[in-house]
Symmetry: C2
């Protein structure tokens, strides 16, 4: 069934009021009519199935049939801190990362980031990325749209690390320590409801100095297997592995 | 160090002969000179580091310095059977799937595949996909270029399933059975060196009849977490989870 996110104030006890672009999507793209059912989520804790009862040009009303128990969110909160990559790679990371359950995306500017975000245009860029996240969240049946923060410096990123229970830095390890990789060990210690940050470098990777700085703040460097992954693949690997660990293995 | 795949006959005991497009890449793109080092792999079991000793327009000779132990291949052979998707999604699946360690790709035509491969053009399409696989294998330091087969029917795909130790069908399970998902159980039983096939439907999924047919031949339907993944994301999830299971957890 088609899913839509609405603001909290649009979801009442008895009915949901749909406005904006979703009105067009329901009436013109999906060609739905009165009586058709949809699912609405308030992007927090409430997801309901409902039936369209009124359609106007700017507003659609749907009567709530029942509340649905949320169960499509990852059991741990995953933040992807992504070194600004080239071209439209950030779009891909946010679309696929949303499907795979990410909670927050933090783009940051690394020494080897070729792309720079003009401060004037940053607002528009974030808006565009938020739209990609919203659409991917609807398509993948998420209950929550991931948060996309504006671009940060490495210093700003470092300050936030203390809020996390675990911080993993994607890094081509020269050798594994012990039986498991650092990443698998970190996941074994992480508990349901806790927060993990995955830091990925831009194309060309982080500099030794950046790695040293992040690790001195508590980030743990870990490889994601022996192959060299492109920057946009690393985040997707981490999210898939976290889902496998927390959702499929138990 | 830059990596190149060469045919078996191009790799001698003492030297490697590089021909074709790689000559241009070494001389014009990388601007290398005599004395520079590269790594060459024969796409089977031999990977060597070598030093360029002669550069001509059509041929570069590099003297072998030493053999390198191969260690970037997944410990199990993974075949991705992908229902033909729309647009350039197959390119993405092959590029990212190669980075993540896939051994073979089998595109197949499913009931809901919108795209059809014209038999006359199939050869060219496979050639293009093979080129994507070769480039991604070089970039990710693979020792082996994945095999890309030409498009198959579901009947042809079914015939090949008996060659595999495990066949997983990506499917939105209504409920998990027991403690682990079917996919995690299958990976627990799979041994190093064995072969696993992951079957992914096209956009819109496989029909109930297709699922029934594949399962009656031994495929095990398994979900990849509670979120609905796009077709191009499912294969990448499976490969990441397999790497995590076999390369990071042990």
């Amino acid at each position: 069934m088609q899913r839509y996110f609405v603001a909290k104030e649009q979801m009442g006890d008895q009915e949901v009021k749909i406005t904006g672009e979703d009105v067009k999507h329901i009436s013109r793209v999906m060609r739905m009519n009165i009586g058709d059912q949809i699912i609405c989520s308030d992007n927090d804790s409430r997801t309901v199935s409902c039936r369209i009862s009124s359609m106007m040009d700017q507003e659609i009303i749907a009567d709530i049939i029942e509340s649905l128990a949320p169960n499509t969110e990852l059991p741990v909160e995953v933040t992807i801190a992504q070194g600004l990559p080239k071209g439209d790679k950030l779009d891909l990371i946010i679309q696929k990362g949303t499907e795979l359950g990410a909670h927050t995306f933090i783009p940051y500017s690394a020494s080897r980031s070729v792309v720079k975000w003009d401060h004037k245009k940053a607002g528009k860029k974030v808006e565009r990325l938020e739209k990609i996240a919203k659409e991917a969240a609807e398509q993948s049946y998420r209950e929550r749209i991931p948060v996309v923060l504006t671009v940060q410096t490495l210093a700003e990123l470092k300050k936030q690390m203390s809020q996390y229970d675990s911080v993993i830095l994607a890094y081509e390890e020269s050798a594994k320590e012990g039986e498991k990789s650092q990443f698998a060990s970190a996941l074994s210690e992480l508990k349901v409801g806790q927060k993990i940050m995955i830091i990925v470098g831009p194309e060309g990777g982080l500099t030794d100095e950046e790695v040293r700085q992040l690790c001195s703040e508590g980030a743990v460097a870990s490889g994601f297997g022996p192959r060299i992954l492109r920057t946009e693949t690393a985040a997707l690997y981490a999210l898939s592995a976290i889902s496998y660990h927390f959702e499929l293995m138990r």
